[in-house]
């Protein structure tokens, strides 16, 4: 039987030939992502900035201008209306999201306000139904954003410590640099595309951290093994051997995970699309960063390969031009 092979069995690709270019590109990408984040900002959902969203569904096409006009007289401040496109839903379902800013002096939406909005929308689309109504007070949203940052920070710290304990500090710096890279690029992408950034996206970012570290650790594990096996060879060669040896596994796992995620992205409905999109993107950049960020950092930092002569060795390998 012929087996499916993503790559040939024995590869000897030099992953670190262009280390400066790839690492440089990653650095530039991170800087760009940060710049975009700070200039364009994120399209925060109500989880993070308070307010109310109504999800509407009607048989008639969504007329954003008419919806807006209907709600104009209510004096609710900033209102945003966006139509939701879903390739899997049929023509009888036209879904829109209406977001209303947090009202002065109110924690969550009052029933009167929601009734007024629903009444106004019914005048333009009589058969409209409201499939979900969510409201978050400014107090809670402030706390949620804090918790979210705390969660991401705590995850990075926990991983830094775990990898440090299991491997060496150079590995843990490399791993966390890769994770940082993945997180920033994900946030940057959400900022450029202005995709709604809400609580599930934070969960997605943490999942990306989990996936990316998984990938990084597998290669580190092999590197550790090979460092013992090939004591005399240069760090760069050993790293190349390790990445090549684990390459087919890396591609297989990314492949199966991406297969599952793409199914979910296309067929899973629009409610979790942002969430799945973040994870899909994260799997791609996570796989990239395991090799090109984590390993490069380890290569730059060097690895202490002999316990008796600590200082000499780390200096020696740190000088290798990558």
């Amino acid at each position: 039987m012929r087996r499916l092979r993503l790559i040939p069995d024995d590869t000897s690709i030099d992953f670190f030939k262009h280390a400066k270019v790839t690492f440089g590109a990653s650095c530039v990408a991170v800087v760009l992502a940060l710049a975009v984040w700070f200039t364009m900002g994120l399209n925060y959902g109500i989880d993070f900035r308070g307010g109310t969203t109504l999800r509407t569904q009607s048989e008639t096409p969504v007329d954003v201008a008419a919806y807006r006009a209907a709600m104009d007289g209510l004096g609710l401040g900033d209102i945003s209306i966006s139509e939701v496109f879903d390739p899997t839903s049929d023509d009888s379902k036209h879904v829109a999201m209406v977001r209303i800013q947090a009202q002065e002096g109110e924690e969550a939406a009052t029933p009167e306000m929601i009734e007024a909005v629903q009444g106004a929308l019914k005048t333009v689309a009589p058969k409209i139904v409201f499939t979900s109504v969510e409201s978050v007070g400014p107090k809670v949203s402030g706390e949620l954003i804090q918790t979210a940052f705390l969660a991401v920070g705590a995850s990075l710290a926990a991983i830094l410590i775990y990898i440090w304990l299991r491997f060496e500090w150079q590995f843990s710096v490399g791993a966390v640099a890769a994770l940082f890279h993945d997180v920033i690029l994900t946030i940057g992408l959400f900022s450029i595309l202005q995709i709604r950034f809400d609580l599930p996206v934070i969960a997605a970012i943490l999942t990306i951290i989990g996936y990316s570290i998984n990938d990084t650790v597998v290669i580190f594990d092999r590197l550790r093994e090979n460092l013992r096996k090939y004591k005399k060879r240069a760090l760069r060669d050993v790293m190349n051997i390790s990445v090549n040896e684990t390459l087919s596994r890396t591609l297989m796992t990314s492949g199966t995970t991406l297969l599952a995620l793409i199914a979910l992205l296309v067929l899973g409905g629009d409610v979790i699309r942002g969430f799945v999109f973040a994870i899909t993107w994260g799997v791609i950049v996570g796989t990239y960063s395991s090799v090109y960020v984590a390993k490069n950092v380890v290569l730059f930092l060097g690895v202490n390969r002999d316990d008796s002569k600590k200082d000499n060795n780390s200096g020696q390998y740190a000088n290798i031009d990558a």
Partner: protein, 549 residues
């Protein structure tokens, strides 16, 4: 070499069987749910043929625990309420005032003066008796009844000039907050139980918040109507009735609006004669004119107080006050000794039924502010379930095919392990009563993708070991051994993330972390032990000279 002791084999097989057994009810979600609901209904209200028929939909001897569906899948309402714990401080001070007055009466005449909320200020006539008065007031203090506040008194008394200030101590405030939260939880639970919905979640969150999730309810507004009202019922003496909303009520009195007629205000004595806490029952009923009303009955102490008061005040009006609004202010026609009565107002039948529910369940000790609310319609939930099912199936089939195409027979073993894995996830989730949310489904799909990772690691390793030509048995056994450290490290780090998500997340995110964590445990088990057992079984029978992975 390739050997697994018999007891281990049996243990692995038993674990799989148990997982599948526990997951079984989820494959028949509808009937099992009806069966469970029917059993509950029979327990509460006795048996009917219909309920018996529903209960018979699922055999008694099979497991009946299901994965709970989260609000985003089932539809329902979610509320996060903040309890205004400071409300209670003011009430406490209100109750302390008569005690202070009585304690100081023999020393010097006193007068209550205005003070910020939660503080009691008293002016004494003779300022030189301050020390004596302070000492007398301090005798009212009682030790705080908690572990943390041990050694503290419940009130702090201080004096300056001719003013004595009484506040609650920090320890007592904490103890009071704790009690307020416990009572609020209990009363919200009772109110929701009275309405009788399925599996509500009522949980304390943080120091002063309560999370309420009720599946199947139409909207958060409906839920708020049930739990949002404090329902503090009091019977107070009426001092005056008027139309001036700025009238000065005088100390010890309050000015309250009429619940129905706008512009009508009552001045009442703030200290109530009896309160709703002394009610033992409340039922919706009708008055002599046939309008909806609520009939009630007091407990013995309440009945005695009410009886005495009505006997002494025939001809005077008294106010029935609900949450700072006067519902009605009838004139006392005769003494009411029996301790039961009827509240009339301009109620609709629905309002009187609701009021009866609220009075039966008891008053909330403090007001609630809703800081977050979500309503998810059942159709949206169903759409999500449908989309989730299709996506999971497609993802599953694609991964199965991919594995088989790449690893052949070994891929087939991994596929069986994957199927067992997903079943075990459902089994475990049912066992611990976890809630499946939409991100949770995504978590399962992600697990499907990632679970094969451990097998990929092992198989790739076996391939490598085969290259050094040690013979198939040795290669397989080395492959499993040497892949283990990578598998463990990779999964432990992911598990750390799942734990952090669980601790810090809430709602759907927490649901996701549970499925992710459970998925890691089961996937390591199935990918490592289950596939190994299958490989060993196959190897023992086939005894191949060469293998291709």
């Amino acid at each position: 070499m390739l050997q697994i002791p018999v007891w281990k084999r049996i243990l692995i097989i038993l674990t799989c069987v148990l997982g599948l057994y526990l997951a079984l009810p989820n494959a028949f979600y509808g009937p099992v749910e009806q069966h469970n609901d029917a059993l509950k209904a029979i327990e509460v209200a006795g048996s009917t043929p219909e309920l018996e028929a529903q209960a018979a939909l699922w055999p008694e001897w099979l497991p009946e625990r299901l994965v709970n569906l989260g609000l985003d899948l089932r539809g329902g309402a979610h509320l996060l309420a903040e309890v205004n714990v400071a409300d209670v401080y003011a009430n406490r001070m209100e109750a302390t005032w008569p005690e202070v007055r009585d304690a100081l009466r023999s020393i010097t005449p006193v007068r209550r003066v205005d003070a910020p909320e939660g503080e009691l200020r008293v002016r004494i006539n003779e300022a030189d008796k301050l020390a004596e008065a302070l000492a007398a007031t301090r005798t009212l203090a009682r030790p705080v009844q908690t572990l943390t506040g041990a050694g503290q008194n419940d009130i702090v008394v201080s004096g300056a000039g001719d003013i004595i200030t009484v506040t609650l101590s920090e320890g007592e405030k904490q103890a009071t907050d704790e009690r307020t939260m416990q009572q609020s939880l209990e009363i919200i639970r009772r109110r929701i139980d009275e309405v009788g919905t399925r599996e509500p979640t009522i949980q304390r969150q943080g120091s002063d918040r309560i999370l309420i999730q009720v599946p199947g309810i139409g909207s958060a507004a409906e839920l708020k109507a049930i739990i949002g009202t404090t329902a503090q019922l009091t019977f107070n003496p009426v001092v005056n009735r008027g139309a001036d909303e700025n009238a000065s009520p005088g100390l010890g009195n309050s000015l309250l609006p009429d619940a129905e007629a706008p512009g009508v205000f009552y001045i009442i004595e703030t200290a109530p004669v009896v309160t709703g806490e002394e009610l033992v029952d409340a039922q919706p009923s009708f008055d002599q004119n046939g309008s909806p009303a609520v009939s009630f009955r007091f407990d013995t102490t309440g009945a005695r107080k009410f009886g005495t008061y009505t006997a002494e005040n025939i001809g005077a009006p008294f106010a029935i006050v609900l949450d700072d609004e006067v519902i009605s202010a009838p004139t006392i026609q005769s003494a009411i000794p029996g301790g039961s009565g009827i509240i009339t107002g301009n109620f609709s039948v629905e309002q009187s039924t609701n009021l009866a529910v609220l009075l039966r369940a008891g008053a909330l000790p403090a007001g609630l502010t809703f800081v977050e609310e979500r309503t998810i319609g059942p159709e949206l939930g169903q759409d999500s379930i449908d989309a989730g099912k299709i996506a999971t199936t497609v993802a599953f089939v694609a991964v199965l095919f991919f594995m088989w195409a790449t690893y052949g027979l070994f891929g087939f073993f991994a596929n069986i392990a994957l199927i067992v894995n997903v079943s075990m996830i459902f089994g475990l989730l049912s066992l611990i009563g976890a809630t499946l949310t939409l991100p949770g489904i995504a978590g399962i799909v992600l697990t499907v993708g990632m679970a094969v990772d451990a097998n990929v690691l092992i198989f790739e390793r076996i391939r490598e070991e085969l290259k050094t030509a040690k013979g198939p048995a040795r290669a397989i056994s080395l492959g499993y051994e040497r892949a283990l450290s990578a598998i463990l490290d990779a999964n432990i780090t992911t598990f750390i993330i799942a734990t952090i998500l669980f601790v810090l997340g809430s709602g759907p995110v927490r649901g996701f972390s549970v499925t992710l964590g459970v998925g890691i445990l089961t996937s390591v088990f199935t990918a490592y032990f289950v596939t190994r057992l299958m490989v060993v079984f196959w190897f023992e029978r086939a005894r191949p000279k060469t293998i291709t992975v």
